[in-house]
């Protein structure tokens, strides 16, 4: 059975749920509405998976909802959402984490329930929209839409320093995305003039038709990449992350680590690499070095954190370093590894945050020294913790290994990075992951129970079990049977890699032609894009008429 507008329904159903939640007063019915909405959304999103056929078309997204009447005709800005191999699992991860986060907030949130669940549902719409968008302006709108609910979620339901963390989070990421907006506008006009009869366009496929001159690519790439690097976050732009994570309520942390950060890496794969392939390759080494620094640095800093949540937060810096490294390796294996690692990291780090949140809910402290010996009092919780830790540390047979292995293997073969040293340093992250994660288990769960509050701590209840089980099962399934997932995404990653190759060659060809012309007739200037008022400040002064 084909459901019409399924993609849009999956995106906007949570927003509708937010509206319904906002109109209610009863706490219990608010919770159930939120849970019901997210569950229905998840079930519907399974329909996306069901309907997506990787064999059908490598390039074009499927289950597309397209509407060009959204903006006036003078601007070619479309409502263009669809499913392909890159976003299908990120969308599924988002919809899966939806009910899990609602369930995890069930008793954790103690005030202003209505606002929390409404904002959370709105956030889900924003994130799903980011992943599904094939139009840059639409992408940007969803990208910014995620900021507002997250700001309130951290700022209202967070810890002691929540206001500081919330403002830092919003300002930091806003700086990046505003720079990206400038780049989007410029790109839209340029592409419009070049391939769309002078009509401003941000349609991804039309942008791919436009061969961007190498020089232009480089600063457009910087603006885009800066925005995404902040979101990932890449060293040294990561410091908003520990603050935001530590202060955010559990549900917020899970969403933040699970999917919000992936918007950065996803943006790199979807937009930065195919649109600006030459610049991306020129800058690849810098990004590889930064991500390796992030891997090691994040791990070492994580090891000495006294705060369990901060430890997990820094582990995200380390783990996402792998993803960025894989993206900038420019090999098929590493790219697929990076995409699947985004999903894997969402699952395992989401699980770690959930467990730390459960501990916090019981004892209202995040300091590891306040715990110790919990394995005796809460064996089930301990088992889930160790399982998640192992998945996160990349134990073969669990999900973390597949992504890391493919990323490192692919990067080792990479001709762009071409440095065994970088891979070697990145691989030490595997050792360090064990160091800090096992230390957390060691100081939190092992040893003797010395504190009464720890000794009488209740073990996981049915609700907590229900929200951890799907994640644990996924860790196992994606560790042993990643092939179905890889097969689904393969056509799209291959398409991205091919596009990069072609567009890179085109841009180089264009550059050669221009150089040839300049040598031939020194007077003639670059065939600069025809007059366009808004871009005049970007035009080099040499092209001004004398």
């Amino acid at each position: 059975m084909e459901i019409p507008f399924l993609t849009s329904i999956v995106i906007f159903l949570p927003a509708l749920g937010a509206l319904v939640v906002a109109l209610q007063n009863n706490v219990s019915s608010i919770r159930w509405t939120a849970l019901g909405t997210t569950l229905v959304t998840f079930v519907l999103s399974l329909g996306l998976w069901w309907g997506y056929d990787p064999a059908a078309s490598a390039a074009a997204p499927q289950m597309v909802d397209l509407s060009s009447s959204w903006f006036p005709d003078s601007l070619d800005i479309k409502y263009f959402v669809g499913i392909d191999g890159l976003n299908i699992f990120l969308i599924l991860l988002t919809t899966l984490l939806g009910p899990i986060v609602v369930a995890s907030s069930w008793t954790y949130i103690e005030k202003q329930h209505r606002g929390y669940y409404a904002l959370f549902l709105l956030l889900q719409t924003g994130i799903t929209g980011v992943f599904a968008s094939f139009d840059l302006i639409l992408f940007y709108i969803f990208f910014e839409l995620t900021l507002i609910p997250m700001y309130f979620i951290i700022g209202i339901w967070g810890g002691e320093d929540r206001i500081y963390a919330a403002i830092k989070f919003v300002l930091y990421t806003l700086v990046g995305s505003l720079l990206m907006l400038v780049a989007i506008l410029f790109l839209g006009y340029e592409a419009g003039n070049a391939v769309n009869q002078g009509v401003f366009t941000t349609d991804w496929f039309k942008l791919l038709d436009y061969t961007i001159p190498v020089a232009t690519q480089s600063w457009l790439f910087i603006l885009f990449a800066l925005s995404f690097a902040i979101k990932v976050p890449l060293f040294p732009l990561h410091t908003w992350l520990p603050d935001a994570h530590v202060q955010a309520p559990t549900g917020g942390s899970v969403i933040l680590a699970g999917v919000l950060l992936k918007m950065g890496t996803y943006g790199l794969v979807r937009f930065c690499l195919p649109l600006f392939p030459n610049a991306a390759q020129d800058w690849a080494l810098l990004f590889a070095v930064l991500s390796v620094i992030g891997i090691i640095y994040g791990a070492l800093v994580a090891r000495v954190q006294p705060d369990a949540k901060k430890l997990v937060a820094y582990s995200s810096v380390s783990h996402l370093g792998f993803v960025v490294l894989g993206i900038f390796a420019f090999t098929d294996i590493a790219m697929q590894g990076a995409v699947i690692q985004m999903v894997n990291h969402g699952i395992s780090t989401g699980a770690l945050f959930l467990i730390v949140g459960m501990l916090y809910e019981r004892r209202h402290t995040r300091l590891m020294e306040d715990y110790g010996g919990l394995a005796t009092s809460v064996p089930v919780l301990t088992s889930f913790m160790i399982f998640s830790v192992l998945a996160s540390a990349g134990l073969p047979g669990l999900n973390g290994f597949v992504g890391e292995f493919m990323i490192l293997l692919g990067t080792f073969k990479s001709e762009v990075i071409a440095s065994p040293l970088i891979v070697g340093l990145a691989t030490t992250g595997v050792i360090l992951a064990a160091v800090y994660l096992l230390y957390m288990v060691y100081s939190t769960f092992f040893g003797e129970l010395t504190n009464d509050a720890n000794a009488t701590m209740p073990d996981m209840n049915a609700r907590e079990l229900a929200l951890m089980l799907p994640l644990a099962i996924l860790m196992f399934v994606m560790g042993f049977f990643p092939t179905p997932f890889l097969k689904q995404m393969e056509p799209s990653t291959t398409f991205i890699m091919e596009t990069i190759q072609e567009r890179r060659a085109d841009a180089l060809e264009l550059q050669r032609m221009q150089e040839g012309m300049e040598e031939g007739r020194a007077v003639r200037v670059t065939p600069a894009p025809p007059e366009s008022g808004s871009t005049s400040e970007a035009t080099p002064p040499t092209t001004l008429p004398e």
């Binding site: 954190q305 047979g397 050792i431």
Partner: protein, 666 residues
Amino acid sequence: MSHDLLVRLILLLPLAGAVLLGVLPLFMPALRRREGLIGTIGTSVVVIPFAIATYLFVSYGGDPVTVSYFTWMEAAELSVDFAYRIDELSLIMTLIVTGVGGVIHLYSAGYMHGDPGFWRFFAYLNLFIFAMLNLVLANNLVVLFLGWEGVGLCSYLLIGFWYTDLKNSAAANKAFIVNRIGDFAFLMAMFLIFSELGSLSFDVLLTDAASVLSAETIDYIVLLLFIGATGKSAQIPLFVWLPDAMAGPTPVSALIHAATMVTSGLYLLARMSPIVLETEVVMMIIAVVGALTAIMAATIAITQNDIKKVLAYSTVSQLGYMFMAAGVGAFFVAIFHVLTHAFFKACLFLGSGSVIHSMEHVEHDLEHEGEDVSDFDPQDMRTMGNLQEYMPSTGWTYFIATLAISGIPLLAGFFSKDEILFKAFEYGYDGNTYAMFVWVVGVITAALTAFYMTRSYYLTFMGEERWPLADKIHPHESSWKMTVPLWILAGGSLVTGFLGLPAVIKDGKWNWIHHYLGANYGGPVAEASVSAHVPGSLEWGLIGLSSAIAVGVFFFARSMYLSQGIAFDVSLKERLGGLYELWEHKYRWDDFYDNVVVEALINQISRDGLAPFDSKIVDGAVNGLAGATQESSSLLRRIQTGVVQNYALALVFGVVLVIGLMIFGG
């Protein structure tokens, strides 16, 4: 029956056992006390695979059989299957793992009786068997790595099994992390192999690699694999985790840290032997590291008083022997020693477990008598003595295994160790000088081995009874669940040596293990070819020399420790002075790691360096930017006097300025 199904059963039964025993009792606490049920399930899921492996062994036709179940990872040119390989090498290893493993499972049912974590213990043990079988049966490096890390995980879980004592958990962490350092090298080796060869399957690796890869690449690959092996098989410089790993329950020490897991580094080298043989220089490194590890650990073992620590260092030393064999190109001998060592060392460990078990009862009785037992250590040989009288089965089996490891003629250890020494000598005789060095070290180590093992037996089982109230409190022999495994393993220590009779007998035709494994006879394990053969008379001489050393040292140590007891240690210490102290402090390896690596990395760099750097510099830059914005605006806001007239004045000036510019500016 088809191999497909049989291998599936071999692998999945232990896994099923692990899941069943690990998950059900976790959620149903009532099941946790059903020790009989848990023990039966746990043991049978290992014994049945042993039976299947025996069937496979008997029906093995001589050609390797590979089975492939499903694709694990596939992307572009990468394709990794869950593929398994049955050949002579994997069959022998499977038999050791399931056979010795099954015996130890049975023993554990007795040893762990009454422990609240009984169910967990069997779940972990089953999981270990599953991982270990993956390791030895794998047909590609990635599945091997799955097993490799899997056994590391189980080792971690089992060392830290009694987690309420943080010391145990710290030892577990240490084991896992040190192993991970080796795994890092393993991963790098895989990356290098894949980027050069485009495949990680043994089908490609063992046939093409030697001819396709450049010599330099092979050097790097083998070196990286060897570093990986030093982690798992406890060689210099990564051996430090193994002595600490004795914090785990004793059956774990026997199974994981003596018989199976620690030999996986050897298995890896033997599996990769066609490639390893291609690199002279790394072979030398392997042999020399093995030799140094062997003698170093043996000297440390002399000074230890904890019965399990003696055995732990002895294991490190014996593993060094195996690497010596690998380093002189005699991989099948290394596997032979893996086999014999599995029996006598497991027997020794289980014997020590039986001793510890009954010494714990002594401790319990002492407590009952109102004695202060806070200083009583049931593992300390200084509080034992004359246990042979109370625990005859344990005593006799320990004695047999002691003779075997000491290299007393006609026992298992004699044949395998002698073969290693002979191969080293032969290789050296052929012109490789380093092999001669290895041989000399090996002979000295053999003498040391005989010494410390004899010491351990006589301090524990003979002499005077040294625990408090010895006339009132007596230890007891352990139950049949523990003694039957001891006798099985002791039997193995007696006879397995005959599987590899030396070359002087019937021109090596009776060396079954050589014929079975050796590439010269169609097996999977390559060996170095030697042009200058050692004459038979010289070989007899060598055999005589090592026999004489073993027997001589045994009787010397016997008479010393029988007559003087622990007092002989003191006189030894006086005689050797600083050297003995160095041994006692384990050559200060742990100090080095604790103070230099851990202290520097965790405390100096991370805690005092990076963490402040992160909050002060990196975050400080961000907050500084915010601060600077705030500062500059608070300066600028002073313009806002709040007096309307000032604003109006500014307005007028502005208007005048604009008009002026329009008029005069042109």
